[in-house]
């Protein structure tokens, strides 16, 4: 994998690890951006990892673009033999699939959808070869996901499923983006899941909603008092399907300040994962639920 470099104007360097999404490309991006951050290079002002690429913002008054290019290329070659292990955390996110709020919204925007006669999740289930929505939810929530990018808007995670490519779910985005999406909608576009951190426009298919806030600028939510954004790239997520009663109870617990997300520390090894995907995922589940 050799990176493609391109300047974004005179203040950004864009680095594409691979055109296609893969965990390998994401790991390379994460390794280079982590090394770059650690190197604390004068003139680099922001480092933004994305799914299979990353972006470096720089101040050209402090570092010349060609010098920056040399520095990042050098770090790319150093990171080539990077450790395939990642110390991270695994988080359980409750999801109320086929909830009434995203349903109401998707019905309002039916004319912008590929299949106006079915719901987003029915459509996604069908085109991915699942017999019914239940089987599709099982696939969506059965294996864990990597947070491969945080962005678009405040604290929104893009998630990539930790299964081999034939088992990856793929769904096109809406034909034309909606002007509205409920806050905390669990969405899907291309090969990525996401959680809409705020209410607003969106083009991803809507499958359900989580009761768990992931962005709180007022920092009133108990687990967001230290920092207003919950996710960081490299987090591992496991969706946990819940029903209406559990959703309502979780919403109330969040309001009362008693909701604590289930979060455990784990070490993920990409080589081990590639050698035994289901076994690695099973060990991750043990780490999440083993106590």
């Amino acid at each position: 994998m050799s990176c493609r470099y391109a300047f974004g104007g005179n203040e950004h360097l864009f680095v594409e690890v691979d055109e296609a999404m893969s965990l390998e490309a994401f790991f390379v991006s994460l390794a280079i951006t982590n090394t770059l951050r650690g190197a604390a290079i004068e003139g680099i002002t922001e480092i933004c990892p994305a799914n299979a690429s990353f972006q470096v913002k720089f101040d050209p008054d402090r570092i010349h673009p060609s010098r920056l290019l040399d520095v990042v290329k050098e770090i790319e070659s150093d990171a080539a033999g990077a450790d395939s292990r990642l110390d991270t955390r695994i988080i359980e996110i409750p999801v109320y699939y086929q909830d009434p709020w995203t349903h109401e919204t998707l019905m309002r925007f039916r004319e912008r959808h590929q299949d106006p006669d079915s719901t987003d999740i029915e459509y996604a289930a069908r085109i991915n070869g699942y017999g019914d929505v239940g089987a599709f939810v099982e696939a969506h929530s059965g294996a864990p996901w990597f947070v491969s990018m945080v962005g678009f808007v405040s604290g929104l995670p893009f998630l990539y499923q930790m299964v081999d490519r034939p088992r990856q779910i793929q769904v096109p985005k809406y034909l034309r983006p909606r002007t509205d999406t409920p806050k905390l909608t669990v969405g899907y576009g291309g090969c990525f899941s996401c959680i809409y951190s705020v209410r607003g426009a969106g083009g991803y298919q809507m499958f359900g909603i989580t009761p768990m806030p992931i962005y709180d600028p007022a920092q009133r939510v108990s687990y967001l008092r230290d920092f207003m954004v919950f996710f960081r790239p490299g987090d591992i997520v496991k969706w946990a399907p819940i029903d209406r009663a559990a959703y309502d109870a979780a919403v109330e617990a969040v309001a009362e300040g008693t909701f604590e997300p289930r979060v455990r520390s784990v070490t993920f090894d990409l080589d081990e994962f590639n050698a035994d995907i289901d076994g690695t995922n099973a060990r991750l589940m043990e780490a999440l639920h083993g106590d």
Binding site: K57, G151, P217
Partner: protein, 324 residues
């Protein structure tokens, strides 16, 4: 000291020079779209350049002052008035307790910057008072100003600054047929040579969707893509890419139809290819373009982009000296 909002105009927000450092989490730097105009207004009233002021679009607000203060309005040609009497733009003037600062009709440009001695002192969020409405962050309760709002203002007074003015040569408004210089790159190779040429040949018009997140342009030819099999994860439209970071100023062209230039409240990433990036020296100008303005994109290279940036720095240095 406070400012009472009698009428907010169309869209008035508190802005300073922004909150860089959180783009990797989807929180853009924000801040004044025309940074030089905000700096000029602050310098005129004796504030630090990065003090929070008001950014107002197309139609100004009506503001009542509870105490004496010094005010300056820079940027768009949106003439300020005090109790109905017109005041000079790009010039510091005094207001007294009970006075109402209003505005006449917009003559050119799009955004005016109002600085008040002492600066707006709403609580900072992530190191900045800038309003990021999409994320309900900063400003006053994370939103644009509304009638009945009361804005706290710092206590520093700027006695004796009234009448100080930015020399006309250092004021920059939009020209009749503006040009934005773009450095091609990013996914420029995704469109054909003839589409690359057409992009710079065609006249574009600013669309109505022109806000702090980005400016959309219409009227040029549709782009033709270089054929390829779409990479895994990118999506099926030829304008789709595996979701990536978006630079500030980057020019994305969803479905190859209407280019969008991302601005200070940019979405930090997404799945549309970008053909290049407007250079930093021209970003202030974007914020002063009115919808329906005819304009052109001009091809530039890195060396010229850095030279243009140095020119902008020289203007700022001259401005600092002129109003010191």
């Amino acid at each position: 000291m406070a400012i009472e909002i009698l009428s907010p105009g169309i869209l008035t927000t508190i802005q300073d020079l922004g909150r860089p450092g959180y783009y990797h989490l989807g929180i853009p730097m924000g801040g004044a779209m025309d940074r030089l105009a905000l700096r000029a207004a602050n310098l005129l009233v004796g504030n630090p350049e990065g003090a929070a002021g008001l950014e107002t679009v197309f139609m100004g607000p009506d503001l009542e002052f509870t105490e004496d203060a010094t005010v300056a309005v820079c940027g768009a040609d949106l003439p300020p008035t005090v109790n109905g009497a017109e005041q000079p733009s790009w010039t510091a003037f005094d207001v007294k307790a009970g006075d109402v600062l209003g505005f006449d009709y917009l003559r050119s440009g799009a955004r005016a910057y109002i600085a008040v001695s002492g600066g707006i002192e709403t609580p900072p969020a992530l190191g900045s008072r800038s309003t990021y409405a999409i994320g309900a962050l900063g400003g006053l309760k994370g939103r644009a100003l509304a009638a009945g709002d009361s804005l706290p203002v710092g206590t520093t007074k700027a006695a004796g600054r009234s009448g100080r003015s930015v020399p006309p040569a250092l004021r920059r408004g939009p020209k009749p047929a503006p040009e934005l210089r773009m450095l091609p790159g990013l996914y420029w190779h995704r469109v054909t040579q003839s589409s690359q040429d057409a992009f710079f040949e065609d006249a574009w018009k600013v669309a109505n969707e022109a806000d702090r997140m980005g400016y959309r342009f219409q009227g040029g030819r549709m782009m033709e893509f270089v054929e390829r099999e779409q990479p895994f994860g990118a999506g099926s439209d030829p304008s789709n890419i595996t979701d990536a970071c978006y630079p500030y100023g980057s020019v994305q062209v969803p479905s190859g139809a209407e280019p969008i230039v991302l601005h200070r409240d940019a979405v930090s990433g997404g799945g549309y290819f970008m053909i290049g990036t407007v250079i930093s020296a021209d970003m202030d100008l974007v914020g002063q373009l009115q919808p329906n303005t005819t304009m052109w994109f001009v091809r530039t290279d890195m060396e010229s982009a850095l030279a243009a940036r140095a020119e902008r720095s020289a203007i700022l240095a001259a401005l600092r000296e002129a109003v010191a």
